[in-house]
Symmetry: C2
């Protein structure tokens, strides 16, 4: 006899009873008063009187006057950066998040299929259920000459059959809509479709016929930058996802665009909540709070982060509190402030009265993953021969993740182009430096970053794996990049050749091994050191990380030159 | 370059343009005027002006003032009875149905996994896309001692990974909620869940705690017999499916129960449209017409048979007309009457101005399937020894598919219990007679069928495969059953030992090889012969077919005795 069915029938006592709450039904966006019965980690029943279902071993939680909701779901995030989720999950839980769908791009770009499997393994048995998407990145980097040749693409596509893989990760529209069907991305899409997966889009700035072409393949888009983006996506069958997280806050545009839109068609995501925001602001609770502040009805926002999210990814066992659903439950004291009091994960009380009742669960990564930044740095790699002189191409950093192409005339000293920090002209270099590539590397120029002294380097490159460094001299850049390599990966700011702030990220070169609070402190120190040296970008780490993101607008850094993102072409220092 | 994306971008002419229609958006339940572009069998775009997309080879259909809808989807039917869908599909298409989800129970009970594969093969390349569910029947017949021992259950469950298998077929609640998790049905459910499938319920008469227990496993229920059944299912996370078809018309109850219910949560089905209704009334067009008559808004009904149906079964490539969807399109002249003028299937015009432009596609079934009714009939199998005398158990047929247990005292002649047609007391027998079983057999009694003379036999048994016969004497029953076996399966009415009406169904003993119109005529002749001989049941073939349906209410016939459906027990002629 299954306990679940027996409890539902009223023939056995429940494991857990949440008594007297207002239980949320996302289908109707209303509450129903009652006692919620849990058995075998699943919802057994919602009943007006649970007294007959309470036995000597039943855990009874009094939730009178509280709102009882399904656990929150983040439909788009990047767990593989800054912090390891084996530690960060406790903060997610504290805010009622019990399921996430994550990109796997960074791990995959560095270790191929094994990297994705590692991310899945490291997050396999957490009280937050982690699903992954297969990264689109490795499948289209070839257009810009950046294919990571020793990553086996078919091997990655085969992972589409994994129970925890629910789709393809964010695809940049500019490449996707122009490609031929013979390109590898088609293989990825077919594998994902054959296993019922979702294809996630990144449609920032995509509209009109281009958006229509993109919509023939993608299922959602979390790049809602303007209110009208919502309707334009919806009428093409693309689910708009409102974003609030460390990268951007698009909620005002999303809220304006979703007025009058049927409630079932919308989702919310964080797109990554980095250590400071995670500790100080929250996770999906913060996203919902922000949505409510922006004027979205709380019940409508709750629906977006529960049932809608689950349905969109075909996660039929969660997202509601109906019988048979996984018992992932959030108890709120107040709708408006989204104050999470108690959280249940698969029937276990993991947060009670605001206290998280579980500890970090560090994962034992193999040595090759903990020592993967193998870049060999010599100062001459950052020297730029000025033979011929004249103007050269450079990246003009704007704000957020935006950068465009410009022309600069760097000073020439000893036959070399040099940086000119007084004129906001810095060198920027990307050295391939992962387990998968050790050759090549490119040094160019960037303006708009305003660094006055020293250099910064990071292995958390959003595009090609490697070490990216921006600095005022080749010597400072060398010191910064070498220190990153010594740490096995991380963020380092140097001045006069000495580190002044650093965040080690030895896990695959991109994640810290420390507790989230310490990671937050170190990341803040790096940010502070950059600001103190003149960087005016509101998010210096985002500015640097996205310098190599060759799908984002519009002009980026790769290991073989600049990349013109729209043209999908490599651009040399001296364009033809 | 993919033609689809190129057409969507406006860079290539479309294959097909539907110009000037009112194009339905099921998400908003509204129409948008525009030209619908089709390329590569998919929807490319909806545009206000298609002139730039019309090339010399573009087929342009003027649909001005017409309603342009996604193809209709039947979420629950039984294709494996009366008619072969390789012939019937043309009638489905004529009414705008382009996708069906069918049970596979009859073929599976007779041939195991091979039977399901045969059904899928026979319907693989039709202009109506056919998806199947794995039959629950073989997985629980064991409780009543009726397990078909030579069917390999694991072999059937493994089929859950097939692209065209989308779930588990209708599960009878009374068995499911009381069973132990160790029973084979759990294996089926797990296999289906692991492949993202849907578990279909049959919850007729299931309510309160029993319904809650059932809801822990099932996803939908098409047994909406009372208006309140809708809300009771919805609040437990079970999708209510309104039924209109040859078996029952539940639409008034469904319509009453669905007032005010969010539009996205509801579906409609036929549960089987038999030859007469298919030819004379229609298919999903008839279901929608009936729903509109019952007061459901046309646009709401359209949503139920398109987007909702597709989403419920995870068929993300259909159910709407957004870019990338399969180009299954229905053009209606009028919403209220649902008059289907033109139908497109995967981009091909298959119905134009009411004319179906494709022919029957008979399938070449193997000999063992065309000659599968191997019952060996001798008159003594229908004799019932009256030793001891007194009352015996009998089936009391009520109406539709309902029957209950009763006690009768048949006349005793020559030491045998006999039928007494003057007193509405007939013999009823079920002989195992398929490729899978040849032993056993049971003869009992039935009241309520009112047959005055002769006998009827059929191999289209809803429960155990075999030949069921009901008659006034053992001799008449023998003649009827023998004739069924001679035909390789079918329906036969005899009088004085001679057939007076017959419908051959040699395909697996359950489907006709003839065109639908002829099948209709023969079935009508059988029905007429039964009515002429006194049968008062409104649907004599339904009454006889369901006599062996051991999951339906409440007292049925199996090959080893009666079955008390609620108790899940075999009941002998003389109960203890």
């Amino acid at each position: 006899m299954s306990e679940l069915r027996a409890v539902a029938r009223g023939d056995q006592p429940a494991d857990l009873v949440l008594r007297g709450g207002r239980v949320f039904d996302p289908v109707t966006e209303t509450y129903e008063r009652g006692d919620l019965l849990v058995a075998d980690g699943r919802i057994a029943s919602l009943t007006l009187d649970s007294s007959a279902s309470i036995g000597p071993d039943t855990n009874v939680l009094d939730v009178a006057d509280c709102h009882v909701l399904p656990g929150f779901i983040d439909v788009h995030t990047h767990l593989d950066t800054f912090q390891a989720f084996e530690r960060a999950f406790r903060h997610a839980l504290a805010g009622g998040t019990t399921t996430v769908v994550t990109e796997t791009d960074r791990f995959a770009m560095r270790f191929g299929r094994a990297g994705i499997e590692l991310l899945l393994d490291a997050t396999a048995d957490l009280p937050v259920t982690v699903f992954g998407t297969l990264p689109a990145g490795p499948f289209y980097r070839d257009v810009a000459g950046r294919r990571l040749s020793d990553i086996d693409l078919d091997d990655i596509a085969d992972l589409a059959s994994d129970d925890r893989i629910v789709g393809a990760g964010e695809v940049f529209w500019n490449y996707a809509i122009e490609r031929s069907d013979e390109t590898p991305l088609t293989t990825l899409f077919e594998a994902v479709r054959n296993h019922g997966g979702v294809i996630c889009g990144h449609g920032a700035g995509c509209n009109d016929e281009k958006l229509t072409a993109f919509a023939t393949e993608i299922d959602n888009d979390h790049e809602i930058l303007k209110a009208e983006d919502v309707g334009e996506r919806l009428r093409r069958g693309v689910v708009p996802i409102g974003r609030y997280g460390s990268i951007r806050d698009d909620i005002d545009a999303f809220a304006a665009g979703t007025e009058g839109v049927p409630a079932g068609e919308l989702c919310l995501c964080s797109d990554g909540m980095w250590p400071r925001e995670l500790v100080e602001d929250g996770y999906m609770d913060a996203v919902v709070r922000r949505a409510v502040e922006a004027g979205i009805e709380p019940t409508r926002a709750f629906r977006m982060v529960t049932l809608n999210a689950a349905r969109h990814f075909g996660l039929t066992d969660r997202g509601s509190l109906t019988p048979g659903s996984v018992a992932d439950i959030v108890v709120l004291g107040d709708e408006q402030t989204v104050d999470v009091r108690t959280v249940i994960s698969s029937g276990s009380v993991v947060v009670q009265d605001g206290e998280v009742r579980c500890t970090d669960r560090p994962f034992d990564y193999p040595e090759r993953v903990r020592n993967s930044v193998t870049v060999d740095v010599t100062e001459d790699r950052f020297r730029v021969d000025a033979a011929g002189g004249g103007a050269v191409a450079a990246i003009d950093y704007e704000e957020g993740l935006l950068s465009s192409e410009t022309r600069v005339e760097p000073p020439i000293i000893d036959g070399e182009y040099r940086a000119a920090p007084d004129h906001d002209l810095l060198k920027a270099a990307l050295l391939p430096g992962s387990a998968t590539r050790r050759d090549g590397g490119f040094t160019g120029f960037v303006t708009g970053l305003m660094l006055q002294t020293g250099a910064v380097a990071t292995s958390d490159t959003w595009g090609s794996p490697g070490v990216l460094t921006v600095g005022t001299t080749a010597a400072e850049m060398t010191a910064a990049a070498r220190r990153v390599a010594e740490l096995g990966g991380g963020w380092v700011v140097v001045e006069d050749g000495e580190p002044v702030a650093e965040l080690p990220t030895p896990i695959a070169g991109v994640c810290s091994e420390d507790a989230v609070e310490r990671t937050r402190d170190l990341a803040e120190a790096v940010r502070g050191a950059l600001s103190a040296r003149g960087m005016t970008a509101s998010q210096p780490l985002l500015a640097l990380g996205t310098l190599s993101a060759v799908g984002m607008p519009w002009f980026k850094l790769a290991t073989g030159g600049y990349v013109d993102v729209i043209a999908n072409e490599v651009v040399n220092l001296r364009p033809e």
